[in-house]
């Protein structure tokens, strides 16, 4: 085998002045750089959103606390929710999709590189716009600053009368702008996967990560757009005197809830499906076995995508829908557990009998499996509408969805970071710091979110600013807050690991994990053109075929 890097005369290696370097990053249309920009912007907002979470936890640490004012507290939980969903989870997952999808299908870039850059800058500027509200939110009226009406901005709270000034406008516009960015990226991902696969990469041979990102992108097209539509309606209400959500003129507050949750629930799956994708790549590699039940995994993903489009009103059991609607949404919500369960069994089936290597990515993956299962089980509990009537809008719900988002999505993301960081930078993340990160975060996570279910059952409502002593909530809240700080320390360890390993980490080489997908066949970090010669594949594990010419997978297809 001859070396097949394209030799470009000139200065690939020479260092440039930092202004040039910065200019290159800002004007880049390379999918790998944009992927990293997505991830870095998400890490920036993760830090901000994390600080907001800590402010919330300090305020709730004991009864009658007044660490911050009620107004600040309201804007903290609003900004925390909005930031984490739209400016952390979405960008970081798009970042990984951007980085990995072209590499995994043997393409040299996304289908539309400039649209890709445009979409990234839209999302990022959307985030900046949201945070500019801290400065510009009071507007001409001198009232309010950051949005403070909850991340779902229920009508009529979003109306002029209840959020004067411009705080809600910043919220609306930032979500609209970043929503357009998401749609652009989703279209790009779909076009890339459909049209740029390398020869031999039939859809039945695509890595599961690619499959699941295709499904995710399809869901973005259908799920993010209702939010954009609802935001346009809200803008019409606020600026043109429309009456969509104006109950005084016959408008309906419930319609806003429907529109928001038609976006909101599929959004959860938009976030979790790429995490399923990470699991489906990482677990096989560290179990030294191919994924168990590939076609079933694909079918289950598509099935989840379909069913999740019809479950949204389980967020609205307490508004008093009729019994048919309640039964329908209870049944669909429980039905979504079936394909999800199939996936969990498949991952366990992959691990079963494998030679499992407990490297950091695998530790986070196992954490994901366990916690996502528990999160799913409390989800099934809440799906039963009578149970939901009792516990909706309590801390039980907060615990449930943080179990999904932190215990599921964030753990999967950490696994992805440890797994693909060597490819992105050429250096391994430190295993020792990684183990510290894992165990600290695991302990902090369980202290916070296991315990958080209990005050919910005891009747502590979500979003309250403070509470009376003697209700049995004090100790529990203190434990929850301590857990939050342990998680914050773990994140610091993680960030330190990212920075230290970038300079001092062990050299990774092309394929540090002995993996099987195409991204590991090229250099780490890959050159701008990814592959000197576009690869041709003949099975689901092209690198296995290369490494084991005597026993290739293609023989069994």
């Amino acid at each position: 085998m001859s070396s097949n890097a394209i030799t470009i005369p000139g200065n690939q290696i020479q260092s440039r002045p930092w202004v040039d370097e910065l200019h290159q990053w800002v004007t880049t249309v390379d999918h790998k750089r944009l992927g990293i920009l997505y991830i870095l912007s998400a890490l920036l907002f993760l830090t901000i959103g994390g600080v907001e979470a800590l402010v919330i936890r300090i305020q709730l640490m004991h009864s009658h606390n007044n660490f911050v004012s009620p107004e600040v507290f309201n804007s903290m939980f609003t900004m925390h929710g909005t930031t984490m969903i739209f400016f952390v989870a979405m960008p970081v997952l798009f970042g990984f999709a951007n980085y990995l999808v072209p590499l995994m299908i043997g393409a040299r870039d996304m289908a539309f590189p400039r649209l890709n850059a445009f979409s990234f800058w839209l999302s990022f500027l959307g985030g900046l716009l949201l945070y500019f509200s801290f400065l510009g939110g009071s507007g001409l009226y001198g009232a309010g600053s950051a949005p403070d009406v909850g991340w779902w901005s229920y009508a009529p709270l979003g109306a002029r009368a209840f959020s004067p000034g411009h705080s809600s406008d910043y919220w609306t516009l930032s979500l609209l702008v970043s929503g357009f960015g998401s749609i652009g990226t989703a279209i790009n991902i779909i076009a890339t996967i459909v049209s740029l696969r390398c020869p031999g990469m039939k859809i039945s041979r695509m890595p599961l990560l690619v499959w699941m990102n295709l499904v995710m992108a399809g869901m973005v097209l259908i799920a993010i757009t209702p939010l954009s539509a609802a935001q346009i309606m809200l803008l019409i209400d606020r600026y043109l005197g429309g009456h969509f959500f104006d109950t005084q003129a016959g408008g309906s507050a419930v319609l806003w809830m429907h529109f928001f949750w038609i976006f909101g629930h599929p959004e959860v799956y938009v976030l979790i499906i790429p995490c399923f994708a990470f699991m489906s790549e990482i677990i096989p590699v560290f179990s030294r076995k191919p994924i168990f039940g590939y076609p079933v995994m694909v079918a289950a993903t598509v099935c989840i995508a379909f069913v999740s489009m019809s479950v949204w009103a389980h967020h609205m059991f307490t508004i008093g829908m009729n019994s048919y609607a309640n039964s329908f949404f209870t049944l669909t919500t429980m039905a979504v557990g079936v394909p999800t369960g199939i996936k969990i069994f498949n991952w366990i089936g992959t691990m079963w009998g494998g030679r499992i290597q407990f490297k950091t990515p695998m530790l986070f993956s196992i954490g994901f499996l366990f916690q996502f299962l528990v999160a799913g089980l409390t989800g099934i509990m809440m799906a039963a509408s009578p149970f939901d009537w009792q516990l909706s809008l309590s801390y039980f719900v907060v615990a449930h969805f943080h179990y999904v988002i932190v215990g599921g999505i964030l753990f999967a993301l950490f696994a992805a970071f440890y797994y693909w960081y060597p490819k992105m930078t050429g250096r391994m993340l430190s295993e020792r710091l990684g183990k510290w990160h894992f165990w600290l975060f695991l302990i902090g996570f369980h202290l916070t979110f296991d315990v958080m279910h209990i005050p919910g059952v005891l009747g502590m409502p979500r979003r309250i600013y403070t509470y009376e002593p003697g209700r049995g909530w004090d100790t529990l809240n203190l434990i929850i807050s301590i857990g939050a700080f342990i998680q914050a320390i773990a994140i610091l360890v993680f960030v330190a690991n990212l920075i230290i390993s970038y300079f001092k980490g062990a050299k990774a080489g092309n394929d540090p994990w002995d993996a099987w997908t195409l991204e590991w066949s090229t250099s780490s970090p890959p050159l701008a053109y990814n592959f000197a010669t576009v690869p041709t594949v003949s099975s689901r594990r092209p690198l296995w075929d290369l490494k084991h010419p005597e026993d290739p997978d293609s023989r069994y297809e």
């Binding site: 890097a5 020869p199 031999g200 757009t225 539509a229 016959g250």
Partner: protein
Amino acid sequence: MSVVTTSFPNTAPGWQLPSRGKVAMAGLIIAESAIFTIFVVAYLFYLGKSLTGPAPREVLETPIFYTICLLSSSLTIHFAAKFLARGIKFAFLGFWLLTIALGGLFLYGTAQEWHRLIYEHGLTISTNLFGTTYYSLVGLHGFHVTAGLVMLLTVAVLGLCGHIGIKQSGHIEALSMYWHFVDAVWVVVFTVVYVLGR
């Protein structure tokens, strides 16, 4: 910097995938359909819920002529794209300009209708729920027609300068997909607003 050391056997002739432009346009159409669906749902949900007048029955007139204009523009753009694919540039330009004229006529019709509603019947977007939902749904569609016309005009200018040839056929087909979509949406909006809504 390390180099790529893995090489793959070069085989697989006849590997054909769909054009990325058409796939992307299909994606955009799906996304836009979802946006329109939400506005249509809002329109239907608020039918007859306005607390004050005027009601749709009293003020709306069915714009049959302008509807025919818009729908036939789908036909003309189809012919234009077909002629371009066969390399007959003159016919392409002719049908393309006809499409623009028909689209422009439709927009004129909308403008006239809005003028009548605002100045004769005093219906604005803030009058009542009907006004809010009507102007936003028809306006959203009108916005898409306008955006389409801007793109069509760009192509027309490029075409008149002689920059559009058989090579651009794929792009033109993607653009005509968008225009067909705008027409299809009008069928839905027409049905909802002027047939069911009265």
